[in-house]
Amino acid sequence: MRQSRLALALLLAPVLAFLTAILFYPLALMVERSFTDPAPGVGNYVRIVDVPVYLRIFWTTFQVSGIVTLVCLLLGYPIAYAAANRGPAMRLFLLAAVMMPFWTSLLVRTYAWIVILGAEGPIALAWRAWLGEEPPQMLYTRFSAVIGMVYVMLPYMVLSLFAVMSEIDPNYHRAARSLGAGPFRAFRHVYLPQSMAGVTGGVLLVFIVSTGFFVTPSLLGGRKEVFIAELIQVNLQEIIDWGFSSALAVALLVFTMLLLFLYDRLLRNESVFAAGLSRGRR
């Protein structure tokens, strides 16, 4: 007993040391700095709350991230469903198509969208040719920011859903059908509840990563689509206000965790943690 505990401690030591050095120590430094730089106290946090533009940036970040998450879910669910249930050929094709963007650099992909959505891009040209009028501004809007972010985040959503869906035995659907459920009710009452663990996982993953986005909203979004990450970067590299930057980062972390807590409460049964447990039990 004693020995196995020691062995466990030794096995965990490297990863704990790594996390302490890379994650916990800098995090602690950052929290400390947010309360001490430039002067001890909560001044940095008061400033976030007091200046309307900062709160608006927080709101924009969460709002756009929420939209991105929702769009990813709506687009990703059918893709993952087809990949999990429509045979090996379909699975290979869809997963390859979804994974393809991973092979290209984020920056290149983002510039590709600038070309596609730009005033002289293919969409604008087609619009002028067929409708004979000027297309609406697509680039540098919330719309283009969302498109760019969805493009980046969709694979995460699809893979998270697919991982859960591919484990759902097709006999559940057959059982539901034989018991009198039509295709839609079999999906609604049997498949959907079982896929919720994947929905929860995908939503959390996409939302958390989205709130930390920097390059995509910065390049594709309009002047209004400033994300917190961008605000932090400006304060860090241009204004060189380390204390305020730290406070912004800590606030983002706290807000995100708060939202996650609420989300988990909302979906008590489908919580990622519960899902992990039930899978472990099998």
Binding site: D169, S178, L179, A181, V190, R282
Partner: protein, 379 residues
């Protein structure tokens, strides 16, 4: 007395081809008539087409040709949810996010039954499977045997026209299986629902079914009550698939007479093709139907002489392997005080009464109607 809630099933020349480019067929012209309230087991090795047949009845596979009739009306093309057929799957397929009671209530909810009626039915079924206090549990809190019983209750909750079971006990250990077999049989008798049970376990099929249909390579080789199929197999496949069978190379010399290793032995005459005098054949006799006698106790000319190769004591019986010419004949003798026992090297005489032996063809050739298999292949 005809109960309007008990239904019959007829399969007519049912065929399933998965790949139209090859003529490999999963099911090749299966015909079977299942009477009201009857319990029929489809028994066969994997790949024999028994599950495909069941899936066609359930509506998850469309037959390539042939027809499926319930009470004389075709159900081919009808979606599975309109067929009113209860199915118990191999892995039970209990919905993991629903409690036991919710699982059993599911088919009733889908039929928009009144809440009070649903509650009453669920309570009645929980009693039927002897799990009245398990309604609020979730499937993953139940043992395999309990899950199996809940799956059965759920499949029966809506008074289905037919009950289909697809190897429902494959995942359970032997002891539990025997217990559940009796339970399934009791419930089936109690409700009188027409049942088709797919299994590869011959003992299970014989314990449960009124009639057993032996399937091989997409065909039904023989249909009949367990004792008939066991005692009077129509061909070598059936003989060897059910229990242990001796198939001794023999040559038919006269009606009811065959020659084995230079000695004439009797067999039951029943008019099958392989029995014309002069033809070489396989003589079928079960190990428990052969009696061993000391070689010196019988006048020569009776029985088949042999030498005990080895003897294995297994408690209630002793299994002998007896060398006859170039072949080994298995003999099972019950252990009872006063009966002679033999050791390796002993000279013995093998005896059997004619009705316990028959001459078998290799396997029935070509498609033939299973209903003609009242024990025999057509000539």
């Amino acid at each position: 007395m005809t109960d309007r809630r008990v239904h019959d099933l007829a399969l007519r020349d049912l065929t399933k081809v998965y790949n139209p480019n090859s003529d490999e067929q999963a099911v090749k012209g299966v015909s079977l008539q299942i009477a009201r309230g009857e319990f029929v087991a489809l028994l066969g090795p994997s790949g024999s087409g028994k599950t495909t047949t069941l899936m066609m009845v359930a509506g998850f596979e469309e037959p390539t040709s042939g027809d499926i009739l319930v009470d004389g009306r075709s159900i081919v093309g009808m979606p599975p949810n309109k067929r009113d057929i209860g199915i118990v799957f191999q892995n039970y397929a209990l919905f993991p996010k629903m409690t036991v009671a919710e699982n059993i209530a599911f088919p009733l909810r889908m039929r928009h039954r009144a809440k009070s009626e649903i509650a009453a039915t669920v309570a009645r079924l929980l009693d039927l499977i002897r799990m009245p206090e398990y309604g609020t549990r979730y499937p993953n809190q139940l043992s395999g045997g309990q899950q199996q019983r809940v799956a059965l209750a759920r499949a029966l909750a809506f008074d289905p026209k037919l009950l289909l079971l697809d190897e429902p006990m494959g995942a359970l250990d032997r002891k539990l299986r025997e217990q559940l077999q009796l339970e399934v049989k009791r419930i089936q008798r109690e409700l009188g629902v027409t049942t088709v049970y797919v299994t590869h376990d011959q003992e299970e099929a014989m314990v449960l079914a009124d009639r057993v249909a032996i399937m091989n390579l997409g065909r039904i080789e023989q249909v009949g009550p367990p004792a008939e199929v066991y005692n009077r197999p129509v061909n070598r496949f059936v003989a060897q698939f059910l229990g242990t069978a001796n198939l001794i190379p023999a040559r038919v010399t006269a009606p009811g007479r065959a020659e084995v290793a230079g000695h004439v032995v009797p067999f039951a005459q029943d008019g099958a093709a392989a029995q014309t005098p002069g033809s070489s054949a396989a003589l079928f006799v079960r190990p428990e139907c052969v009696t061993l006698a000391p070689a010196d106790q019988l006048p020569s000319g009776r029985g088949l002489p042999g030498t005990v190769d080895h003897a294995i004591f297994v408690g209630d019986s002793t299994r002998y392997a007896v060398r006859v010419g170039a072949d080994i004949v298995q003999v099972t003798a019950h252990n009872r005080a006063g009966l002679p026992t033999f050791a390796a090297g002993d000279s013995v005489t093998l005896l059997w009464s004619p009705e316990n032996a028959r001459v078998l063809a290799p396997s029935c050739e070509g498609p033939w109607p299973a209903e003609a298999g009242k024990g025999l292949c057509p000539p």
